[in-house]
Symmetry: C2
Subunit: 643 residues, 2 copies
Amino acid sequence: MQFHHHGYVSGDPRVQPAAGVGIDRPAQLPDEVDVLVVGTGPAGMLTAAQLSQFPGITTRIVERRSGRLAIGQADGIQARSVETFQAFGFAERIIAEAYRITEMAFWKPDPADPSRIVRAARAVDDATGVSEFPHLIVNQARVLDYFGEFMANSPTRMSPDYGLEFSSLEVADEGEYPVTVTLLQTAGPDEGQERVVHAKYVVGADGARSKVRESIGCTLAGDKANHAWGVMDVLAVTDFPDIRTKCAIQSGAGGSILLIPREGGHLFRMYVDLGEVPQDDAGAVRSTTVGQIIAKANNILHPYTLEVRDVAWHSVYEVGHRLTDRFDDVLPDQRGIRTPRIFITGDACHTHSAKAGQGMNVSMQDGFNLAWKLGHVLEGRSPESLLSTYSAERQVIAKNLIDFDKEWSTLMAKKPEEFASPSELEDFYVSTAEFPAGFMTQYAPSMLIAAPVHQELAAGFTIGKRFKSAPVVRVCDANPVQLGHQAAADGRWRIYVFADGAAPQQLAAAPSPAADLAEWIASSPESPLAAAPERADRDAWFDIKVIYQQDHTSIDIGAVPAAFKPQVGPFRLTCLEKVYATDAAADIFELRGLDRGGVVVVVRPDQYVANVLPLTATAELGAFFAPLLRAGSRAPEFQDHAG
Amino acid sequence: MQFHHHGYVSGDPRVQPAAGVGIDRPAQLPDEVDVLVVGTGPAGMLTAAQLSQFPGITTRIVERRSGRLAIGQADGIQARSVETFQAFGFAERIIAEAYRITEMAFWKPDPADPSRIVRAARAVDDATGVSEFPHLIVNQARVLDYFGEFMANSPTRMSPDYGLEFSSLEVADEGEYPVTVTLLQTAGPDEGQERVVHAKYVVGADGARSKVRESIGCTLAGDKANHAWGVMDVLAVTDFPDIRTKCAIQSGAGGSILLIPREGGHLFRMYVDLGEVPQDDAGAVRSTTVGQIIAKANNILHPYTLEVRDVAWHSVYEVGHRLTDRFDDVLPDQRGIRTPRIFITGDACHTHSAKAGQGMNVSMQDGFNLAWKLGHVLEGRSPESLLSTYSAERQVIAKNLIDFDKEWSTLMAKKPEEFASPSELEDFYVSTAEFPAGFMTQYAPSMLIAAPVHQELAAGFTIGKRFKSAPVVRVCDANPVQLGHQAAADGRWRIYVFADGAAPQQLAAAPSPAADLAEWIASSPESPLAAAPERADRDAWFDIKVIYQQDHTSIDIGAVPAAFKPQVGPFRLTCLEKVYATDAAADIFELRGLDRGGVVVVVRPDQYVANVLPLTATAELGAFFAPLLRAGSRAPEFQDHAG
């Protein structure tokens, strides 16, 4: 965390100085906004939180409820989401209050007496170490709280506008604010009245019954529901020994339970199988009472018993897997002709079972993918064509999710005798671990993702996948840190320069490819830095870090090129925290398969690897960024970032 | 973190439900209080934060300033303090914003050209792994903020009463509120007016010029100041390469600097040697300007230069080492005859140089030592004689500190040619690392600290020293955790039962010493639990945890004795989080030298090991607690704790 560089900060350094539209931000929704986000679920809140880092952009987020969500339904937090929370500054805190999944247990009918269940297997969660972050369970409402805190502490001082429901929108062909949105006031003195807002862009994060989706003529397509589950969050007394462990429980009598322990040490969630739903059920299964769900759970758990003492929440749902074919308002025949104005995210685009614990996670990544693109386009850094990559990148991810979830929920609903092998369920769970952890996403080549021409220089940083952190040592203060964790969700591109073998030494300064690259970055008109506004800090758009192959005692920080030590803030202080050495106990060059001749790794603001290049490939680096940057920026007068 | 056991908690679980005096807590200072804390420095705030966990006790903390501290002088946070912050729930957050010391560099005159300094050595901070917590630098104001947040979120909903300065006090021989305190209102509409408050106990945490100390006839005694230092917190540009590393810098021209990098990546503190102060100086040295300090620093740093761009704070001080002979109002001839009513803590008791980074840390441990004792006595759990242990335990610690600091600051002020060996300074730094990290404290046997009769059963849990955490695995959810971190600052005693070799198994239940002890704890009238109020949860006063020698898959939690699985909260839910297994990768029995026949380790609410006993020593365990507990508790009607 970097602060004090504008002068002494006495209070919480997480509260950034107000700037731009955050100074005297109007309490009431203005008539004109740059981005209107509809819905305060995980996708909407992440979108708004990311945009809250752009002081020149007016973003508002409206919610039909009159206030904060009290009980959310989603609770599964995959490691990729915790990684994302780290960039938003609240990973440690949410970890501290969440339930952490380290193992999953599989219970089956006892072969000796199929009326009784027995523990058949245990599987370690993330046995392969796909992430340094844990797999958590925590109420969605808390995730939203943390994003809300982040946006309130951002320079734009954002908070949701509650009590406003989306009614309809129209997109004009021209004008600065071409989208006209009609909202209905659902609370307050003007309840029942309409409110019209003009926006440049609208993000529909308004859930499975999205009216924004409807307004752009998208529909969810997919299979019909045919299997029902009762779900309950309860406090109970039980002799079932794994009540605080995630369990898949299959009974001999038929029926199964997915048990998800919840945060706080006592609460847990059970998904209880209510069986096939007849075609002519007409929703009758949804009237199943919590008493019936509890009775069914007791049957499945036999010989163990469950005495429920308090029900926090319960519901019945039928599994449906549905998806839209596009995530924006550009019809297939208009692709390449016009760019989108309206986007949909999260449940508005994809619905599926809750049991793989994916929904909230994939929704948040929708928002993470979209928000920085809106920021860069609205600031004038990037052309509008950037916005077309959102639907292209995320629709395929949602498709993969739905395919995975169909397989998992079908397996969960199978009867024991239907399995191909006794361990089919746990084998599937273990073999697919990277998917539900959130790390299988790999974006295809596009204007944002280079073709993997030089991939072999950095085998462990797969182009199109998220940048996987590894330990390094910060030279200036000898602190061991995770390199990936030094990248905040501030909308900046990252350029990691993994140096060739020459250590920077004052007394033995010799030319090296890393030093030559630094010189090019700092001074070439072809450098991406040349596109950034001169009045801003040199690291305002690009966070450039260097990692040397030596240990920190071998690096003379005075001899490190200036491109890696930018002057920042009004006092023009030297930032020394972008210079790293190798951690002898965990060499990042070894861990990530980096070429000892050096390599440049370009990472997007949403943490995905965009390009891998040789140190000497300045022309390619310049050419990669050229279409993403354009002159005439409308960036704010003074802009800097924390790190 | 445990919650939901009183029903679903939607918001931040760190906000505990208001209870007792926290329900409708009066905004204005009442006329009668149980404890009046004077001063909101680190000692006072920790005392108040700890007492805020006792819903039956009215604690108020007054401060002569009109609000929060903006810039504090103290900044060194030893690992023992971070360990303490962990118990108060804010270690991760303060670590995230602090500067972390991992190395110290030693700069000396270049033998080839003594006009230039060169780096002579580097020393790793905590090379022996005395703690799993880091050594930090962070502004005192932030420490106070976090304690303030903790007390505001406590059941008592405490916050400081600003604008009230201590004037005087009188102690009567009798009455329920025998201490009459006169305060002066220093802010608000009644500024300048007196305010009289009646208290049961008063804690003077009012600094080096403590009026509470004066009121009980204590004086600081010690050496006169004779060496002056200029100190400045600045933002600067420099070519000195270790500007972000803690450094001791000794110049050939004379003079030295202690450089302490500060949080945020840019700010740093320098203690610049201003030399011997003549006897007839009469404070003239204190008029040294910051410009003169900067000039002196530039001389010492030659050939490097320092261009200061912003001064956040600066001061000049002369080193003094002074100490009171008692920390309460009981004169030597009254010891054993009466118990104390007035206590002094922190700088009110001990002053010394700032350069060992000790002051704030030792002060906080004063408060941690005292506060739970006040809580237990006021709740009627413990006799008033408990309060006499505070001065007895802490005065000797302060004496040790002053001796250490004298040695360190004398070394720091030495000229290079005066050293016995070239590495004398760094050798001292490395060899004494445990002291400044805060872990040398060892309380002597008393009513609270048993004689080390059975110490050999737990060689790594030294009686009288703080309980050193080690990894274990929580059985119910297979989570790897640090055992010591499961102990919140909730005022409870901890009893750790390290089991004998028998694993609890339903189908092979056999008698074992651990199971016998559990039975005794749960049912014997001699058990300490028998003293706790029946209406409270069984773990309200004693947090009893069991650690088995097996790995978690070998423990049948259903067969674990009930004493280790208490019923909690209004729903009488079973707490399963007190049962631990050994971590195969880090066996706590090996790491802490625990007897394989099992051992009981008793830990005080302030984290110090009070006793080590065989599993069979129930009589000794009962006898240890008997003098600390007494019947007729005035504990609140319903009491429980989080974990």
